[in-house]
């Protein structure tokens, strides 16, 4: 009577065995291809004609040990610029986003201004803004401390990144379903309360992963401020390079950057994956 369940156990174990075999095969392929790739690099690169000289000028252990503490010190400035830029960028980015999604006709001029601002900032490389603002504003003949390139370089960084971040926030705000506003307004909450209590909290939660990606980029772009003067890690590495005629300081700087950006990137990916698990539906098998 119950033919499906009577041959069920044997069918199920056959399927399990098949899945197991397939899984082992994929692991074997992945392992072999990884080992082959690494072996290729390890064997081939040292056979390049000038490997010895590259090794000496990029991977000198002695130079590494000598430069590391100095560069780590210089990196503190990068971290400082990053630390005081982030709150400014998040705050200003949110303000611009809110202005752009506002529906009040009286705010039209501000909306227009924000559109122009975002277009200008996003349309020009960060480096160019740092040059223009960082050299241009102090050039007006301001008194100390208002003529510091460090200050205006940071301002340029904040202005550019605020425009990126405002677009992220805006997409988050627009992604909150209209029915959420309807529910809040139907309960007698004002427009402002609806934004503050219902829309923004949901929007922010939604955009944390892309926001993290922007912050990772910011962490790297802080080094661009070095090009107008401040001695942070990239500049210090350049000084060391010239002094010792060796490129290893740049490698040291790269390693120090990676120590910060890799954990940040992994966290961003993890947050994104978690968000996708929560909202993306059932995953299709490979």
């Amino acid at each position: 009577m119950n033919s499906a369940s009577s041959n069920g156990p044997s069918r199920a174990s056959a399927r399990r065995a098949f899945e197991e075999q397939r899984r082992r095969r994929s692991i074997a392929i992945a392992t072999t291809s990884t080992i082959a790739f690494v072996a290729l690099v390890v064997v081939l690169v040292p056979r390049m004609p000038r490997w010895d000289r590259v090794k000496q000028s990029f991977f000198s252990g002695e130079q590494f040990a000598d430069s590391f503490p100095r560069l780590l010190d210089a990196f503190v400035l990068d971290l400082k610029i990053f630390a005081w830029s982030v709150p400014i960028i998040l705050g200003f980015g949110m303000l611009v986003a809110l202005a752009r999604v506002s529906r009040n006709p009286a705010l039209f001029p501000i909306r227009a201004l924000c559109v122009i601002y975002v277009d200008l900032m996003r349309g020009v490389p960060v480096l160019l803004w740092i040059y223009l603002i960082g050299f241009g504003v102090p050039g007006l003949g301001l008194e100390r401390p208002w003529n510091s390139p460090l200050l205006w370089g940071t301002v340029a960084l904040c202005l550019t990144y605020s425009s990126y971040v405002s677009e992220v926030f805006r997409s988050g705000i627009e992604g909150v379903h209209e029915s959420q506003r309807a529910a809040a307004r139907s309960l007698g909450l004002t427009h402002g309360q609806t934004l503050r209590l219902v829309v923004i909290p949901q929007a922010v939660r939604r955009v944390i992963p892309p926001l993290m990606n922007d912050l990772v980029s910011l962490q790297k772009d802080v080094a661009l401020v070095s090009l107008i003067g401040p001695i942070e890690i990239l500049r210090q590495a350049g000084i060391d390079k010239s002094k010792f005629a060796n490129f290893t300081p740049y490698v040291v700087a790269a390693v120090i950057f990676l120590c910060v950006t890799v954990p940040l990137t992994r966290t961003a990916d993890w947050l994104l994956a978690r968000e996708r698990r929560r909202t993306g539906g059932t995953r299709v098998a490979a």
């Binding site: 959420q180 139907s186 309960l187 007698g188 909450l189 209590l197 949901q202």
Partner: protein, 245 residues
């Protein structure tokens, strides 16, 4: 005329599409009105207009003798008096059940936090949801979410409650618990206007059934008159289509 809620000649268009073409209705206190009609007949729009979620183009909505649709009348105040429950629940997903209910109490109605929480807790207890107070909406069944949404609207002590096809998104076995809650509200004397596809429920609970067709009330009367012995050809055709399903 001493109606609790009077809808007088309400017109509403979206662009060139005239959804409501002069709807008039008087609802005595404690009455339950069921709006039936095909999708697009204007049921939802009418309810959203009464809550002032959609500004009306013409006509007036008079609640206890006050024209709440008058230009310049504070819609936020009027909305606290006219609760609206949606087909898709629209609970706030980032807040637990308690906070969903107390949000408008504390921020719109000016209650302090402890008073709001005790109001919410009383209602949750009354409707068998007390154990869900700290739960988030996504962890609730559709029926539970909709009951919470109704409690959220009722907590503001509105004098009129509008229900917009509140069971339409639910699995059939979850419809009963929501309808029971509505029946219970009726016994407490709440004036209710509901858009519904549940004909047998409309029959048992409504004082008045209105058949909406192309933006007007085509036929209205007691459930016996409209649902059992409709006079209008269109009403008969609509009911015949509905009953066949």
């Amino acid at each position: 005329m001493n109606a609790h809620l009077s809808i007088r000649g309400v017109h509403k268009s979206f662009g060139a599409n005239e959804v409501l073409r002069g709807v008039s209705l008087d609802v005595p206190r404690g009455n339950v009105v069921a709006f039936i009609g095909a999708s697009g007949s204007g049921k939802s729009t009418l309810l959203r207009c009464i809550n002032l979620l959609e500004p009306i183009d013409d006509g007036e909505i008079v609640l206890d003798g006050t024209d709440i649709s008058a230009p310049g009348f504070d819609a936020n105040v009027a909305r606290r008096d006219v609760g609206l429950v949606f087909q898709s629940y629209n609970l706030f997903p980032h807040m637990n059940v308690m906070r969903n209910i107390t949000l408008a109490l504390t921020h719109a109605a000016g209650a302090d936090k402890s008073a709001a929480e005790s109001t919410a807790m009383d209602l949750l207890t009354r409707f068998g949801l007390a154990d869900k107070a700290r739960t988030y909406p996504e962890q609730l069944s559709g029926g539970q979410q909709q009951r919470v949404a109704i409690v959220r609207a009722v907590a503001l002590k509105p004098s009129v409650l509008l229900l917009d096809e509140v069971t339409a998104a639910l699995d059939p076995q979850l419809v009963g618990e929501v309808l029971d809650l509505i029946a219970e509200l009726r016994t407490s004397g709440m004036t209710m206007l509901m858009a519904t596809h549940e004909m047998s429920f409309a029959h048992s609970i409504a004082d008045t059934v209105c058949f909406l067709h192309e933006g007007t009330i085509h036929e209205s009367g007691t459930p016996q008159q409209v649902l059992d012995a409709p006079r209008e050809e269109r009403t008969r055709a609509f009911l015949a289509r509905t009953n066949r399903r």
